[in-house]
C-alpha cells in the first residue's frame, strides 16, 4: 500500500501553476515523475502523489526541479485562466482510472512519436552527409579528369604541329632529290654545300621537337651523300662461327623459378628408380649379364611387341619389373601387351601402377600419362565399364586437348553410354 503524500503547496498565476511537493527523505529522479496533459503523478516507493489537474497543461514545456528535499513543479497552463483548485474535485474512481489510463496512453504515444521523429532526423542527417561526401568526391574526380583531358589536348596539339613539320620536311626532301637527279657530280658537290647552307636555315627555324643531329644533312641531302657514306662503310665482316654451350636443362620447356622444385622432385625420382635393383632373387644367378639390365629387357620387350609376340614381350617386362619395380614405362608397355592379349584386368592394373609412378605431373611425362589413361580407358570400355572408360579418356584429353583421336573415341563412348541408358 503506497503512502499518499498529502502535504503539498501550490500557487498560481494566469499562465502557470507552481506546485511544491516535499519529499520526506525520499530521493527523486526524473524517472519517478510522470506527467501528462491533465495528470500528474510522482511515485517514489513507498510514497505516492497523484493529481488530476483542474485544467490541461502544456506538459512538454512544464518543468520539475528536484532539490532540497523538495520537488518544485512549474506547470504552464494551456489556457490562461485562474484555477479554482489544483485538482479536479468530484472526481469519482472510474473517471480517475479512465483519466489515468488515457494519460498513460497519451504519454506512450508521445514517446513513440518522439523516437520516430528522432529516427527520421537521424536518417536525413546521414543522407545529407553522404550526399555531401559524394559531391566532394565527384568534384575531385572531375578535377583530375579535367587535368588529364587538358594534358591530352595539349599533347595532341603538339603532335599535330610536329607531324606537320615532318610533312614539310619530307616535301622539302623530295623536291631536292628530284632536282639533284638531273645533275652531274662535279657541280653537284658545290651545289651540295650550297644546299646544306640552305637546308640548315629551315632546320633551325623549325621547332625543337626535331631530333638534332649533325648528320641531319644526310636526311635532307641527296642520294649522292649516301654514296659517299657507302664508300666510308667498312666491308662486310669476315664470316666466323662462335660455338656456344648452354646451361644444361633436361626439360624442353623454359626455365621458371617457381617450377624448379617440382621438376627436381621428378628428376630425383627418375634417378632413384634407375638405381634400385631387387637383388634378393635367386634366379638372378642364372641370367646372362644383359638380362639383368631392366632397360635392355625393356628394349627386348618393345621389339617383341612390334613383331607381334605379345607373350614374349610380357615375359620380358615381367623380368624387368622384378629387377626394378619403379620404372613407370615398364608397366605402361606391359599394359599395352595385356590389351592386345585381352587380359583386360591386368591391363587396368598395369596402367594404374604406371600412373601412380608418373607423379608429380610435369610436362616431361605428359606423353606417358596420356598413353596410360588411354590404355586404361580402352580396357574399361572393352569390359563394358563405359563410364570409367570415359573418365580416363577425359583425363587424357585434359592433358592433351589437341589430340583428335582421343576426342573422337571419347565422343563414341559418350554416345554408347547414352544409348545403353536409353535402352535400360
Amino acid at each position: 500500500m503506497p503512502v499518499w503524500l498529502q502535504e503539498h503547496s501550490w500557487r498560481q498565476s494566469l499562465t502557470a501553476v507552481y506546485l511544491s511537493l516535499p519529499l520526506r527523505g525520499a530521493r527523486a529522479t526524473a524517472a519517478n515523475i510522470f506527467c501528462s496533459e491533465q495528470y500528474l503523478k510522482v511515485s517514489i516507493p513507498p510514497f505516492l502523489f497523484e493529481a488530476v489537474l483542474y485544467a490541461p497543461i502544456d506538459d512538454t514545456n512544464s518543468t520539475a526541479k528536484i532539490g532540497n528535499g523538495n520537488i518544485f513543479f512549474t506547470l504552464y497552463k494551456k489556457e490562461p485562466a485562474m484555477w479554482d483548485s489544483l485538482t479536479l474535485a468530484n472526481a469519482d474512481k472510474e473517471k480517475l482510472q479512465h483519466l489515468r489510463e488515457n494519460a498513460v496512453l497519451k504519454a506512450q504515444e508521445k514517446a513513440k512519436e518522439e523516437t520516430e521523429a528522432k529516427k527520421i532526423t537521424k536518417q536525413e542527417n546521414k543522407k545529407y552527409a553522404l550526399e555531401a561526401t559524394m559531391k566532394l568526391e565527384e568534384a575531385e574526380r572531375k578535377r583530375i579528369e579535367d587535368l588529364k583531358e587538358k594534358e591530352r589536348q595539349k599533347v595532341t596539339k603538339e603532335l599535330e604541329l610536329w607531324k606537320n613539320q615532318q610533312k614539310d620536311g619530307d616535301k622539302y626532301k623530295s623536291i631536292q632529290t628530284k632536282e639533284e637527279l638531273h645533275q652531274e657530280i662535279e657541280p653537284l658537290k658545290e651545289r651540295k654545300k650550297e644546299k646544306m647552307n640552305k637546308t640548315r636555315i629551315p632546320n633551325e627555324a623549325s621547332s625543337k621537337t626535331r631530333l638534332k643531329s649533325t648528320r641531319g644533312c644526310h636526311g635532307s641531302c641527296s642520294i649522292f651523300s649516301q654514296d659517299l657514306k657507302e664508300e666510308q662503310l667498312p666491308a662486310p665482316r669476315a664470316a666466323a662461327t662462335i660455338k656456344v654451350n648452354f646451361t644444361p636443362r633436361v626439360f624442353p620447356t623454359a626455365l621458371r623459378e617457381s617450377r624448379v622444385a617440382e621438376e627436381e622432385e621428378w628428376l630425383h625420382k627418375q634417378a632413384e628408380a634407375r638405381r634400385i635393383i631387387n637383388s634378393d632373387l635367386s634366379e638372378l644367378k642364372d641370367l646372362k649379364e644383359e638380362e639383368k639390365n631392366p632397360d635392355w629387357l625393356k628394349e627386348k620387350g618393345n621389339k617383341m611387341f612390334a613383331m607381334g609376340d605379345y607373350l614374349g614381350a610380357v615375359n620380358a617386362y615381367n623380368l624387368a619389373v622384378r629387377l626394378n619395380n619403379k620404372l613407370p614405362l615398364l608397366y605402361l608397355n606391359r599394359a599395352a601387351c595385356h590389351l592386345k592379349l585381352r587380359n583386360l584386368h591386368k591391363a587396368i592394373e598395369d596402367s594404374s601402377k604406371a600412373l601412380e609412378l608418373l607423379t608429380p605431373p610435369v610436362p616431361d611425362n605428359e606423353n606417358a600419362r596420356v598413353k596410360a589413361h588411354v590404355r586404361r580407358g580402352t580396357a574399361f570400355c572393352q569390359l563394358e565399364l563405359y563410364t570409367e572408360g570415359l573418365q580416363d579418356y577425359e583425363a587424357a584429353l585434359k592433358i592433351d586437348p589437341k589430340n583428335k583421336i582421343i576426342e573422337k573415341d571419347a565422343e563414341k563412348i559418350r554416345q554408347l553410354i547414352q544409348g545403353t541408358m536409353q535402352s535400360s
Binding site: K148, E151, R152, V155, T156, E158, L159, E160, W162, K163, Q166, G169, D170, K173, T177, T209, R210, L211, S213, R215, H218, G219, I223, Q226, K229, L233, P234, A235, P236, R237, A238, A239, A240, T241, I242, K243, V244, N245, F246, T247, R249, T253, A254, L255, R256, E257, S258, V260
Partner: protein, 360 residues
C-alpha cells in the same frame, strides 16, 4: 626504392586505340615520321604488315601488305634514313628486307634459320652509330646469326650450339657497344635463363650468366655508345639491370634486380631521349615506367684489387594497366619524346603519350 610523388609523376595517357583483325607481334615507328608499322599473323596463317599514320586522334591505314608466312619481328635499325627499309623475321626462319614502297619483292631475302625467328635487331643505320649496317636474328633453333645486307646467303657471324649439344630456344637478341667501326657486341637471351654476350670484333664469347628464369627481352640503353647498361627481363615478373662499364674477371657485371609483376615481363624499351628511363610491359597487360639512378661510385676494388662494378637503384615512376592480355611489343618514337606504341595480344595496338618526362 623511392618514388616520384604526386602531380609531378609522368602520366601515361592513352591517345589512340586501334582494333586489329590479326594477332600483332611487333609494332615499330617508322623513323622521322608519324607513321607506324604493325607486324603479325592473320587468322588464315599468313603474315601481315600494316602501315598506319597518326592523324589527330585516329590511326589511318596507309598500306596493308600480306605475305605467305606469319611475321614475328621487325626492325628499321639497319637501314638508312632515306631508304627506311624494314627487316623482318618470320615464322619459317626467313629474314627479309622490304622496301615499303615496292613490297612485292624483298630487297634481301635469306632462309636464315630452320625454325621461327623470335627476335631481330639492327645497328648501323638511321644515321646512328658507326660501322657497317648489320642485322642479328635469334631463333628457336638455338642459333644467333648476324647478317650484312650486302652479303647474300651466308651470315657474317653465327653463334650455334656445340656439336651434339641439345639446343635451347633463343628468345631475344640485341646489339650494343657499337661506338666505332670495329666494336660491336651482340647479347642473346635464351629460354633456359642463359644470357650470352658475344664480341663481334674478337668473335668470341665475352660473358655469360644464367638468371634462373627464361629471358624474354634484352636491350642495351644505347646501341651506339660504349656499353653502359643492359636491361634483361624474364619470366616470373623479374628483370635485371646490369652495369656494363666494369667487367670483373670472375663475377662478371654487377646488377640490380626487381620483381615488378606476377607475370612475365615481355618487353623492355629505353626512352631514346633519356637512356636512364625505360618501360617494361607485362603479361598482365600493364606497363611500368622505371628510372635508374647511378650509385655514387660506379666501380670499386674488391679484396684482390680487381675492379668490380656497383649497381645503382631503380625507382618506379608510373604504372598503368591497359589490357587484360599481355603487351608483347613496345616502341618509343625516336622523334617525339614520350610518344610510344604498344601492341597487345587482345588484337589492339595503342598509341600512348607519356607526359612530364622533361621534369625527370
Amino acid at each position: 626504392m623511392s618514388a616520384v610523388l604526386g602531380p609531378e609523376r609522368p602520366q601515361v595517357v592513352s591517345h589512340v586505340q586501334q582494333a586489329l583483325n590479326y594477332t600483332v607481334f611487333d609494332c615499330k615507328w617508322v623513323p622521322r615520321s608519324a607513321r607506324l608499322m604493325c607486324l603479325g599473323s592473320a587468322a588464315r596463317g599468313t603474315g601481315v604488315i600494316q602501315l598506319y599514320e597518326l592523324h589527330g586522334a585516329r590511326l589511318e591505314v596507309l598500306r596493308e601488305i600480306e605475305k605467305p608466312k606469319p611475321i614475328k619481328c621487325g626492325t628499321f635499325g639497319a637501314t638508312s634514313l632515306q631508304q627506311r627499309y624494314l627487316a623482318t623475321g618470320d615464322f619459317d626462319g626467313n629474314l627479309n628486307i622490304w622496301n615499303l614502297e615496292a613490297p612485292e619483292i624483298p630487297v634481301y631475302s635469306v632462309k636464315g634459320h630452320k625454325e621461327i625467328i623470335n627476335s631481330i635487331d639492327g645497328v648501323g643505320g638511321l644515321g646512328i652509330g658507326e660501322g657497317a649496317p648489320e642485322i642479328v636474328t635469334g631463333s628457336r633453333d638455338g642459333t644467333v646469326k648476324v647478317w650484312d645486307p650486302r652479303q647474300n646467303d651466308t651470315p657474317v657471324a653465327n653463334m650455334e650450339p656445340v656439336q651434339g649439344e641439345s639446343k635451347r630456344d633463343c628468345w631475344t637478341v640485341a646489339f650494343g657497344n657499337a661506338y666505332n667501326q670495329e666494336e660491336r657486341v651482340v647479347c642473346a637471351g635464351y629460354d633456359n635463363g642463359d644470357i650470352k654476350l658475344f664480341d663481334l670484333k674478337t668473335m668470341s664469347l665475352r660473358w655469360e650468366t644464367n638468371i634462373k628464369n627464361g629471358v624474354c627481352s634484352v636491350e642495351f640503353d644505347r646501341k651506339d655508345i660504349n656499353m653502359n647498361k643492359l636491361v634483361v627481363t624474364s619470366l616470373e615478373g623479374k628483370f635485371h639491370v646490369f652495369d656494363m662499364r666494369t667487367q670483373h674477371p670472375t663475377k662478371g657485371f654487377a646488377s640490380v634486380s626487381e620483381k615488378a609483376q606476377k607475370s612475365t615481363i615481355w618487353q623492355v624499351r629505353h626512352l631514346p631521349q633519356n637512356r636512364d628511363i625505360f618501360m617494361t610491359s607485362g603479361g598482365s597487360g600493364s606497363l611500368h615506367l622505371w628510372k635508374y639512378e647511378y650509385p655514387a661510385q660506379r666501380s670499386k676494388k674488391d679484396s684482390e684489387g680487381s675492379e668490380m662494378g656497383v649497381a645503382g637503384s631503380l625507382s618506379l615512376l608510373q604504372n598503368v594497366t591497359l589490357s587484360t592480355q599481355p603487351i608483347s611489343s613496345l616502341d618509343w618514337s625516336p622523334d617525339k619524346k614520350g610518344l610510344c606504341v604498344c601492341g597487345a595480344f587482345d588484337q589492339t595496338v595503342r598509341v600512348l603519350i607519356v607526359t612530364k618526362l622533361n621534369k625527370i
